[in-house]
Symmetry: D2
Subunit: 417 residues, 4 copies
C-alpha cells in the first residue's frame, strides 16, 4: 500500500483520538453498523480530499466498513493531524497528507489520490474535482459522481455546471439542512472562538468583535462572540442579511468604519480581499485579525505587508505586523482557517451529521448516479430527514407526531376562520 504521511509512529496517539471523536459521532456509528451488515459500497473506490482530522477518520472507516476502498488527501495544507493520518494508514487506508506541506506536495498528494482511479470523489473545497477536470479530464468517464462538503466548493461547482464544464454529477452535501444549519452555524461558531482564544488568550468580554459576513457561519460566530460577552459589529454586502443582523441586535456598518472600532476581526464571507490595505490602515494599535472562511484569500495579507515595516511571530499562530504608522496588527494563523489551524476544527458532534450525509449520499449515488445529469444536486430530502431523526434519537430526545386530523388540516383549504 502506497501512502505519504509524517510519522507512522504516531498511530497509537491518533487511534485514541479517533476513538474520542467516535464517542460523539453516534449517527455515523449507527450507519457504520448498517454498512457493515449491508456492504452498499462493495467494490467502489472513493477518492477523498478532506481535512485529515479525527472525524474524517471516522468517515473513512465507515466507508470502508461499507465495502469501499478509500484513499485520502488533505483539503488544506495546514489542517492535517499527523497522528490521525498515521492511525488511518495502520488501519489500511492510504493517506497522502502532511501538516504544513508546501503547495507542490499538496497537489502531488491530490494526484496520488487520483492515481487510485476513484469511482466517487469527495471534496471539501473542490480541489480534487478541479484537478481531475483540469489535468485528467479522461478520468472523468470512470467517475460515477462526486460530493462536495463546503459552501465555497459548491459555489465553484455551480459555476462549472453553469459553464457546461462539469463532467459528472455532484451532490452538494453542504446544502443538506442537517449539514449547513449545524456545521456552519454551531460548528464554525464555536471552533472559531476556540481558535481565536487558543491563539491569543485575549478577553472577549467588553471587547468589540467585527464579523465580516452574516451567512450561516457569520451568524454562528456573531452569536458566540456575543455569548462570550463581546460587542459585535457585522459587515455585509447583502441588504437582507444586513437587516437581519440589525434586528438581531448587532451593529452594522461598512468595514471602513468598523476597521476603526474593532478589537477583533474575523472574516467568514467566501469572498476575497474582504479586509484590505485601506482597512488595515484605519485599525487601532493591537487589533487582532483572523479568517474563518474556507480559503486564505479573505485577508489581503500582501497589501498588509506592503504597508508594514516589520513582521515577526510573537506567539504561536500570531504574527505581529508593525505598520509604517507605528500601529501593530496581529494576524492569526497566517490568514488560514483559524478554527482548523489554531484549534481542532468543528467538534465531532456536528461533523457527525455532515459525515452521516456524506456516507449515506455515497450509498445513494452508487444506486442512482446513472440516473443523474452532469449537474449539482441537493442531498435527497429523505437522507436529510433521516439524519435529523437519528441525531435526536441518539440524544434521547423524543418529539411530537402529527395526528391524522392535523395532517388532514394542513393539506385542506376549506376549513374557515
Amino acid at each position: 500500500m502506497e501512502f505519504h504521511i509524517k510519522d507512522p509512529g504516531l498511530a497509537e496517539k491518533g487511534r485514541l483520538r479517533i476513538e474520542w471523536a467516535a464517542m460523539d459521532m453516534p449517527v455515523l456509528a449507527r450507519i457504520r453498523e448498517e454498512f457493515a451488515r449491508e456492504r452498499p459500497l462493495s467494490g467502489i473506490r472513493i477518492g477523498a480530499c478532506l481535512h485529515v482530522t479525527t472525524e474524517t477518520a471516522n468517515l473513512a472507516l465507515t466507508l470502508k466498513a461499507g465495502g469501499a476502498s478509500v484513499a485520502l488527501c488533505a483539503s488544506n495544507p495546514l489542517s492535517t493531524q499527523d497522528d490521525v493520518a498515521a492511525a488511518l494508514v495502520a488501519e489500511g487506508i492510504p493517506v497522502f497528507a502532511i501538516r504544513g506541506e508546501d503547495r507542490e506536495t499538496y497537489y502531488a498528494h491530490i494526484k496520488a489520490v487520483l492515481d487510485t482511479r476513484p469511482h466517487l470523489t469527495m471534496d471539501d473545497g473542490a480541489d480534487l474535482i478541479s484537478t481531475l477536470h483540469a489535468e485528467r479530464p479522461e478520468q472523468a468517464a470512470e467517475v460515477l459522481a462526486g460530493t462536495e462538503e463546503t459552501t465555497t466548493g459548491v459555489i465553484r461547482l455551480r459555476a462549472m455546471a453553469r459553464d457546461g464544464a462539469l463532467r459528472y454529477p455532484v451532490i452538494a452535501v453542504n446544502d443538506a439542512l442537517t449539514k449547513h444549519l449545524f456545521d456552519n452555524r454551531y460548528g464554525t461558531g464555536q471552533s472559531t472562538i476556540d481558535g481565536i482564544l487558543r491563539a491569543t488568550n485575549r478577553l472577549l468580554a467588553g471587547s468589540i468583535f467585527v464579523v465580516a459576513g452574516y451567512g450561516w457561519c457569520g451568524r454562528g460566530l456573531a452569536l458566540r462572540a456575543r455569548g462570550m460577552g463581546a460587542r459585535v459589529i457585522v459587515t455585509e454586502v447583502d441588504p437582507l442579511k444586513a437587516l437581519e443582523a440589525v434586528m438581531d441586535g448587532f451593529e452594522v456598518m461598512p468595514m471602513e468604519e468598523a476597521a476603526e472600532r474593532g478589537d477583533f476581526f474575523c472574516t467568514v464571507t467566501g469572498d476575497l480581499a474582504v479586509i484590505r490595505k485601506e482597512h488595515f490602515l484605519r485599525m487601532k494599535d493591537g487589533a487582532i485579525v483572523a479568517n474563518s472562511g474556507h480559503f486564505n484569500v479573505e485577508l489581503d495579507l500582501e497589501g498588509l505587508r506592503e504597508i508594514s515595516e516589520r513582521v515577526r511571530r510573537i506567539r504561536d499562530h500570531v504574527e505581529e505586523y508593525t505598520l509604517k504608522n507605528g500601529r501593530r496588527i496581529y494576524v492569526l494563523a497566517e490568514g488560514r482557517l483559524v478554527n482548523l489551524a489554531a484549534a481542532e476544527g468543528h467538534p465531532s458532534a456536528v461533523m457527525d451529521m455532515s459525515f452521516a450525509n456524506q456516507a449515506l449520499c455515497c450509498a445513494w449515488l452508487v444506486k442512482h448516479a446513472s440516473e443523474l445529469e452532469k449537474k449539482v444536486y441537493p442531498v435527497p430530502e429523505e437522507i436529510d430527514r433521516r439524519v435529523a431523526e437519528m441525531k435526536l434519537n441518539a440524544m434521547g430526545i423524543r418529539i411530537d407526531r402529527l395526528t391524522p386530523e392535523q395532517e388532514k388540516y394542513l393539506s385542506s383549504w376549506e376549513m374557515g376562520t
Copy 2:
C-alpha cells in the same frame, strides 16, 4: 359611500394613532410619495381583508395615494381597532369592520367588500379569496390577481392551486424575505410577549415557557421568552426544526411531557388541536395557555370545556377553567391571536416592510398579472431587495458593496487554494 363601523366619532383618536404608526413606517412613507407622483394604481379597485390596525390604515392610504379605490374588511373578528376604522372612513375609504363582530357579520363584511368588485384582492388568512371562490366564482374573471399576507393563507392557497381550484394568480407576500424573516420572527416574538404580559402581568423570569412550533414565529417567540428570563421548552413535529431548537439551547420534548412542566404555553404552529384534552389534564394548577397562530384552532377549547367544572372570566382576556381534577387553567383571549387580541399586533416597524411589499406587489401586478398563470407566486426578488435597501436607508445604516474583483471571484471557479 357605504361603510359599517362602530362609531364615526372615534375618527380623531384613530387619526392620531395612525400618525403615530406612520412615524415608524418610513419605507411605506417613501412609497406613498412615489405613488402620489406616479399613480401606478390609477383606476384599480382593491378589496382588502386585513387586520384593521393603524398599520393597515397606512397601507390603505398609500394605495389610495397611488390612485386605487380601496375597500377594507377585517381578517379576524377580534382584531379591529374601531377608532382606526372611523379615521379611514373619514379619509374616504369604505371600511366594513367592528371589533367583536359575530361570525355572520364577519362574512357579511367580506361580502360587502366583494360587492365593490375588486380588481385585486388582498388577504391575511385567505378568507376573502376563499369566499369569492366559494360563493362568487363568476367574479373571479374580473380579478387580475391577489396577494396573501400570512403563512396560514399561503398554505391554503397552495393547496387550492395544487387541486386546480385557484382561479387567478396570487403573490405570497408572506414568502418575501423582508416579510417573514422580520414580521414572523421579530414582530410575532415581541407582540406575543406583549399580549401575554398585558393579559396576565405575570413574571416571566424564572418561569417555564412552552412554545409549540419552531418555525419563524416560534423561534422569534422562544428567543424573546428567553430574553425575558424564562426557561423555554419547544415542541415540534419536524425533526430538523427540533434539532435546531436543541442546538439553540432549548429543551425539546413532546407536548405530553411539556404539559406537566410549563407555567406558560403558546402555540404558533399553523395547525389545529396542538394542545388537547390529554395535555390540559396534565398541566399544573395555574398554567397559562395562549395561541399566537393565525386561526383560533390551535387550542382544543371544546375539549377543555368538557373536562372543566367551571369557567369564569377572572381578568380582561383571562378565562379561568377549573378542571374536574381541581386544577385551574387560564386561557388568554379565548384562544385567538393573543398578540392582536390582548395587545396591538405587530409593531409598525415590521409591518412597514410587509406592507411595503404589499404596495409594491400591487403596482407590479397591475403591469404583469396578465403574464401569470393561476398559481401562487413569490414576491419578485427585486422588490424584496429594494424593501431591504429602503429600510436600511431609513435607519441610517450603510453597508459594504462588492468590489469588481470580488464579484469576479464569486462567479469564477478556476482560482485555487
Copy 3:
C-alpha cells in the same frame, strides 16, 4: 369606617384581580396562614403608604390576618388601582387613594392615615414618615418602628439618620437580598419593558435603547431590553458600575453622546435631572423618553417645555413635544414611573418576596423594636434566608445541603494544597 376612594362599585372587579395576584404570591399566602394561627400583630395599628395594587392588597390582608388594623394611602398619585382600593374597603380596610389625585389630595390622604395613629409605618418612598416627622413630630413617640420598601426612600432615611433627625428605628426592606436582588432587577426589568410597550407598541428589535443608571434596576432593564433585541447603551456616573456594564457587553458613554443615538431612553438612577435640556436638544426626531426611577424628577421636563414649541397628547401615556429645532420627542407617562403608570407595576411573583419581608419584619418589630436605636436597620438575615427558602419551596425546587465534612472544611484553615 372612614375611607376615600373613587368608586366602591368597583369592588368585585378588584376582588377578582386580587385573587389573580394571590395565585402568584405563595410565600405571602403561607405567611398569612401562619399569621392567622399565631396573630403576631394583635392590637397593632399599621399605617401604610404604598402603591395601591393587587399585591399590596394581599399584603394588607396578610397583616390583617395577623391581627393588625391597617390603613392605606398611595405612595404615588398615579399608581392607584381604583378597583383594588374598592375591594379593600369592602374587606374592611380603610383606603385613602384615588388614581390621578392632585398633590393636595395626595397629602390629605397621607394625613388621613396618620390620623389612625399607627404603631408601625410602612413606606415606599418615605412620604408617610417624612410627613410625620415634618408635620406631626409629636406622633413619633407612639410609633414603634417603620419599614421602607424602596432604594430612594432608604437614601432619604439614611440622610435623616445621619443628621440625627430620625425619630424611630426603620428597617430598610429594600436592602433584603430577597427584595432588591429580585424586585429591582427582575421586577423593574420586565415591568418597565411592559410599560414602554403598552405606551408605544414600538419594535425594540434593532433599536438603540439607552439605560441611564446601572444599579440593580438598570441592569435588570438593560438585560431585558437586550433580551427583546435592542442594542443597549448604558450611562453611569460610577466608574465601577460603568466598567461592569462594559464587561457585560453594553456600550457605555456620557448621556451627551448617547442622546444623539438612542431611539428609547429610560432613567433608573434615583437622582434628578438625568436627562436635561442639553440632551433633549441632541436627540433624533421621534426619540422616546421614559423614567422608571421612583420619583418623577429624573427627566427635566420643565427644561424640555422651555425648548418646545408645541406639546400634545398623541396616544395614551404619550406626550409629543415638538422642539423649536423641529424634532419631536415623545415623553411617556409624564415622566412618572412608566412601569406603574403605563403598565401594572411589578408582577406579583416578585412582590411576593418583597412583601413577605414586609410582613415578617412587622412581626419581628413588634417583638424587637424596643431594643433598637433610631437608625436604619437591615432586614434580619434569618428573615431574608427564610423568604428565599419558602420561595424555592413554593416553586418545587430542591437544592443541595452542605455535608458535615464540607462545613468543617469551610471553617478550617489548615487543609493544604
Copy 4:
C-alpha cells in the same frame, strides 16, 4: 542569584509572551511608569506565591520598577509556564517553580522564597503565609503585611484571624470590586470554557452543562456556557443564590439529580467533595467532569477510582475512568483548575485589574501597615475606584459626572414627591 526553573533557554519565548500580555495590561503599565518615577517600594523585599504566568511576570516587573526585590514561587504545581519563569530569571528576578513539580518540590520552593526574608507576602491561595505561620513563626515579625488574591485564600485567612492565629495584617485583594467582579466572573467564565474546549473539543451547543456553585465564578461560567449554546443546570447550597440562578433562567436542582442529566460538569464552589461517588454512579456514559475552583478537592477522585475498573489517558488532559457499571467518565486535568491546567488561566485584561490592585496595595501597605491590626482588611476604596477609572480610561471610555445639583439631591432628604 539563586533560582530553580526548568530551562533558562526558554527565556526568549517567555519574553515575547510577556510582551504579548503587557499589551493588554494598560493599567499595570501606567502604574509601572509611575512606580519607576516615584520608587514607592524602594528597599522592600516581596515574597510572592502566585501562578507563574505572563501576567504575574508583568506584576513582578512592575514591583521591581517600584524599587522592590521580588522572589517568586508557584501557587499551584501545574500552572507554571516554564518559559515565563526563564524570562523572569533573565530579568534578574529569582523564580522557584517548575511546571508539574511534585509536592515536595512545591513546598521546597515556598521555603526558598521565605528564605529571602520578605517584608511583604503576596499569596494566591494562602500557601506562602500558611507555611510561614506553621513553620517559620519567628519570621512573622519581619513581615509588614501580606496580600491575598483569591476567595479560597481569604476564607482561610479570615478563619485564622478569627482564631487569633494571624500574625500580621493582610489585604484581601480578592474583595476589591475591580478584582472579584471582573476576574472571578469574566476571567473564570471565559478561561474555564477555554480550558474545557482545549481539553475536549466537544460541542457545547445543545449540551447540558452543570455548574456547581453560583458565586461570582459560577455565574460567570454559567453565563458563558449558555453563551456557547449549552443548557445550564446550577447546583447550590445557598437558597438566595439558588433563587437568583432560577430567576436568571437556569435550572436548579440537587447534584444527585443533575448527575443523571449533565454532559459537562464543572465545580466552582471553594468547598470539597462537591461531586462524589454517589454522583459519579448516576452519570451518563461519556460525561465530562472538571473543576475550576482553586484547590483540586472539589471532585472526589479517590471515590471515583474506587468505583472504577480501569483508568487511562485518552487525550491530553483527559483521563477516562471506566466504572464497574460499564459507563465511562472523563476527568479533565486531574481535577485541578481546568482553566490554568488545560488553557492559560485568566486573560491578561482581567489580571490587569487584579494586579493593579496588588501593586497599589503594596505601595499603600509600605506607608500604612504600621497602623493596622492583625486582621484581614479590604482594599482601600480609593484604590478600587482608581483602578476602575484607569481601566475605563485605557479603553477610551468616558462616563458622566454628577452635577452639583445632583450631588446635593442625593444627600438631602427634604425634596418630596
